[in-house]
Symmetry: C2
Subunit: 316 residues, 2 copies
Amino acid sequence: MKAIALKGRNICVEERPDPVPTKNEALIRVTKAGICNTDLELVKGYMNFEGILGHEFVGRVVEACEKEWIGRRVVGEINIPCGQCEICFGGDPKHCPSRMVLGIQQKDGVFAEFVTLPLENLHALPSNVSEIEAVFVEPLAAAIAIIDQIYPDQNNDALILGDGKLGLLAAQVLQTRTPNIFCVGRHPRKLALIEKRGIQTALDAGKWDRKFDFIVDATGNPQGIAEALCFIKPKGKIVIKSTFEGLAKIDISALVVSEIQLLGSRCGSFAKALEFLKKETLELESMVDVDFPLGKALEAFERAKDPEVIKVLLTP
Amino acid sequence: MKAIALKGRNICVEERPDPVPTKNEALIRVTKAGICNTDLELVKGYMNFEGILGHEFVGRVVEACEKEWIGRRVVGEINIPCGQCEICFGGDPKHCPSRMVLGIQQKDGVFAEFVTLPLENLHALPSNVSEIEAVFVEPLAAAIAIIDQIYPDQNNDALILGDGKLGLLAAQVLQTRTPNIFCVGRHPRKLALIEKRGIQTALDAGKWDRKFDFIVDATGNPQGIAEALCFIKPKGKIVIKSTFEGLAKIDISALVVSEIQLLGSRCGSFAKALEFLKKETLELESMVDVDFPLGKALEAFERAKDPEVIKVLLTP
């Protein structure tokens, strides 16, 4: 099969043998995949990953020991826990210390014609979910996880820092809980996408001359938290979605004196994301700039690096 | 009256006029006061404070328009909010942006023969609370506030980083909720104080080869959080009590991937601390190394700076 592998810091289009599913796994034909910011970070050296890239995807099961899965259109959770340790038994397998992570840690990803995943990772898709919406299920789940960390209500206001994919998703998701959503970014074209939904946007948070109950740092850079600390109310919560190489410098005394909470936030529930898509209509298809065939992955990655681009898809 | 004032970075023993209470204030004769780590930080330049130092105290009311207060033995909350702003009306006056803070911000403190405080800041002391216990009410309230941030139960374990006053108080307070308390410090003599209560102690957290549900950073230095991140379980909570000049360097990606929470924590409820003292017996009197007369404040501050010393008191 054709596959896009990371070797050192080089992205290679390769021919590889089709993967062989183990007893509990399905073999899935990937029908569409998305390039995520994490993929760009992996290429820079984050996690020291080597192997087939990619973790956002939709596909169709072609082989599985539980025959009812065969032919189903699916999305798949990206964490593959050991299932044997204290943390797995404790009910939080996505934090299993020996976990593999699809296309991120010790497990070949989805930028390929086929991928294998444990059956328990799969979610069958209802027919109302389009191929493009399906590719957004993983980041949408990550955005919905914010709600379960801060419990916003309609009296709260929330500021999203960053107009990348996750920032735009977080703004739209939080808007279902409170009308008072503000988003700061660097790209008027991206901000326009959510501005038309009634979300207030700016290139500088100072424009509003106010502070916020909740701030989501989706900047992807070390300056995001320092900026968040300038605009958070006392006892406010800052949800951090940014991952990057290196350390951030933080004014801890400000955090203590104003009793601010910094909440690390990673993955979310696919089941909740699919429920969400039943009820809500989001700007998802309009976030896609371009859809490349898998063989043009090098070109696709170049486009994905362009700060003006929101989402690049790959179709095997 | 005699008073200990901070001028620039110099501590001065001075004669000052007795303070005059406003209509809503009491005039209090200070009977005992404690030197806190924050006082040492103020002398180094924290908050750019100038004026009479000190915020931990017990005293007796000598003048007040509500006559029932006169003669009462009292402790006093340290935040003096404006009472007029959105945050005060919102029910969280200790975060009032125009607040004064006793001996810390725009309000003369308690290292003096007399101090004034609003009547609503005062708590009358039951006779069972000793003078020394009373001086500990403010830091004890700050330690009890941790419980309301992390809700520990007996299945949780908690690590306290730091064997200063606040670390020793936090360890004892958390021990009332779970038997699994561990404390790391640099001073065997200080650790021995809580070790005799069944709290496990070490000079290096690596000794236990385990991770913890909750960690309290009471180190007072920028390295505390980095150490906490090494020993926290996924989804664990780190309560930060350390304030210091300058910035701390933090591995934000570790925070995000393991979904750690960093919770800034400042003051607590005096009422809860007084309730707590009714039920629990803590090592408080044994934390006091020495009690100086007010006139020997310079010597007292020198002793308080000694890393081997736990608590220094001042008696006007």
